[in-house]
Symmetry: C2
Subunit: 205 residues, 2 copies
DNA sequence: CTCAAAAAATGAACGGGTTCAATATTTTTT
DNA sequence: AAAAAATATTGAACCCGTTCATTTTTTGAG
């Protein structure tokens, strides 16, 4: 019987993850001390560090979950037959933004982004960056899909434009999480404002 | 004689700033301990905190200096009479990037950005964000200047497009400072690749 | 010059993330 | 089933940024 160890491990892993996400949302990422998380999970501080490399790593589990779900929703959208760039993009971006606060608070997003920029060599940062790239790629894919159906001009470079749009969407999202006052409607309005001119230019005449 | 106090204060301020920037560049921001900075400046740890609110605040002096100089160079450029969007933009962005590592290392930039996102309510973040906005505004101004001289199409929204381009330039700069391998040429090539299609679209036909 | 008030300097102590040597538990071997 | 080996747990100790009560220095009034 060598299942005992694996069983306990899985159980503890789950309890730690649960305790951490609960506390992050309840008292905020910064105020949630490792000691508290460990206590709530019924393990010692040392054990916490056997399961997660550090506090930031705990976030990645949640960030990953959030972004994976968003990516899946996006793929579903690309499969559909949309008939103009503006609506298609609005809907894709809407899915990104609507989902963004499902598991994560603004503070958690800020921390994730902050870690990803501040410590680019960590696994955390590399995973975060990879997720970002997949999102960026998805915007490119949407454009390509629309282009193949004659909705986007043939001479538009879908990769360049997709990245351009995604970078913008992402930058606006950073402003969004930096500002507790800003709500989703404000965010969407800002993106709309900045991207509309570009979309007009790339639409079939 | 009440100049003694002010004199000493200015002197210590200078010594602390000098020690900090030296150490930040010499051993890196993270590895430079407050204790070391204080010792090199010939003051105590407590005194360090009388002069700067915290470690991150030390960075802002340097970041400010860097960005102010870049902004001045940019203004000079806008004054000149350039005759096509692509060259004008390349030159402006070139000025941004060429100057970027004059006083700051990549690690220092990363830290500044990381702090600015992670702790948006601090004076540090607010100052950083304000500098960013001025840079963004400058790109808009360049476009408007070109538009008034018939080089950019009349129907282009200079603010929307300027922000779009700046956001992209900024995001590429983030990638640049995140990656120690990446050099300035790589950075410029990436921006070129992403922005060229947009520039074509906005140029006068 | 003296002294009380104001300003500045100090470093020990604190807090919280992280490490690690010692201890405990589980698995494997015989 | 006992011993040895492998694996997991533990919490005290460490590091470093930051704070704050105490001490030192400067100033201006009498």
């Amino acid at each position: 019987m060598s299942g005992l160890r694996a069983q306990k491990k899985a159980d503890k892993n789950r309890r730690i993850l649960e305790a951490a996400t609960t506390l992050f949302r309840q008292v905020g990422y910064d105020s949630a001390r490792i000691e508290d998380i460990a206590e709530m999970a019924g393990v010692s501080v040392g054990t916490f560090y056997n399961y997660y490399k550090n506090k930031g790593d705990m976030l990645m589990a949640t960030v990953s979950m959030e972004v994976e779900e968003v990516l899946a929703a996006g793929d579903e959208l690309i499969g559909r037959e949309l008939d103009n760039v503006s609506d298609a993009l609005s809907e894709l971006i809407g899915k990104y933004y609507d989902h963004s606060l499902t598991y994560l608070s603004k503070e958690m997003w800020r921390t994730a982004m902050s870690l990803s920029i501040g410590q680019p060599e960590t696994p955390f940062s590399k995973r975060y960056t990879a997720l970002d790239h997949r999102l960026s790629k998805q915007v490119c894919d949407l454009f390509r899909s629309l282009q193949s159906r004659g909705i986007v001009r043939k001479d538009v470079d879908c990769d360049a434009t997709g990245e351009l749009v995604f970078n913008n969407v992402n930058m606006m999202f950073i402003e969004f999480v930096k500002d507790e006052e800003m709500d989703e409607a404000d965010l969407k309005a800002e993106v709309e404002r900045q991207c509309v001119p570009l979309i007009k230019l790339m639409s079939q005449v």
